[in-house]
Symmetry: C2
Subunit: 172 residues, 2 copies
């Protein structure tokens, strides 16, 4: 147990991180779009790019980054997790998905995060079910998983030659 | 400003995340080592692997992940940032660096994180100096940058064919 008194809240430790990561990803997506247009590369080629044949493509990295973020904002903020169709096939649709997620997180009332650190969170995956406290869900799953997918999306583009740097990832 | 009362502390929001990420990276490194041995690939080839010719190699990703973590634990915990030589050239030396960093973070007293959310943090880079509050440093720099380098290390190995999956990244 920590000996330090509580000093921040679950809203401060979650929502701004997620909004910032997705906003930076949206700017990265814009750079990929401009690059593909300049190089005359079909957007579907970019959306289907991968780092390995058995890794998920770029489009799926964005879907999973936004899934992780909307799930965390909803579960910690005490509201229903919104359902998305996962049918994005263009840059424009990926932009819409990112903006929709940013808007959703921004819409969740900070007051709903009160007590979220001890709330029971249950995640059901095809192969297993994981139970967390809210704090462990945030620090042991939501934040690492969000950055895993945002970084992998960035890495796919960098590997393909899109001109990006660390500042694009971290934001201004 | 959030309307939620403070409910967690800066120690809970930082040290366990960093220890977990580096411990998982250490386990990933062990898998890379076993794979390279099986494939008879020189460890220097793995340490110098990159996702793009103008991206940093695997060894540097681990150095920067540990730099970010030791810097955050020290600055938020109110102790001196330890200095490392950045001269690792083998898997064994990277394991030592990871373990040394995990041990350092674990050694910082949680009580030292009290008030860290409003502490002035100044980072000097070759091209610019950035000033943060402790909370903004943690959420806007340290956590994203740590996961950027841990994920990129993972992605380099996956791209090269090391058998890894999301569970290796997230941990048990």
């Amino acid at each position: 147990m920590s000996q330090e008194a509580s000093s921040i809240n679950m809203y401060q430790a979650s929502a701004p991180i997620m909004v910032r990561a997705l906003s930076n990803l949206k700017a990265i997506l814009s750079k990929a779009e401009a690059w593909a247009e300049e190089k005359k590369i079909d957007e579907k080629v970019v959306l289907n790019a991968r780092l390995a044949l058995d890794m998920l493509p770029f489009v799926k990295q964005i879907q999973l980054a936004t899934d992780t973020a909307k799930g965390a904002a909803a579960r910690l903020g005490g509201v229903e997790v919104p359902s998305y169709a996962d049918d994005e096939a263009t840059f424009a649709e990926l932009h819409q998905r990112l903006q929709k997620t940013i808007d959703f997180i921004s819409s969740v009332d900070a007051a709903g995060f009160a007590g979220a650190e001890t709330r029971d969170i249950v995640l059901k995956f095809p192969s297993r079910t994981i139970e967390f406290t809210g704090l462990n869900y945030l620090t042991g799953f939501a934040i690492p998983n969000l950055f895993f997918h945002v970084t992998t999306a960035y890495a796919i583009l960098r590997h393909c030659g899109v001109p990006l740097g660390k500042t694009d990832f971290l934001g201004g």
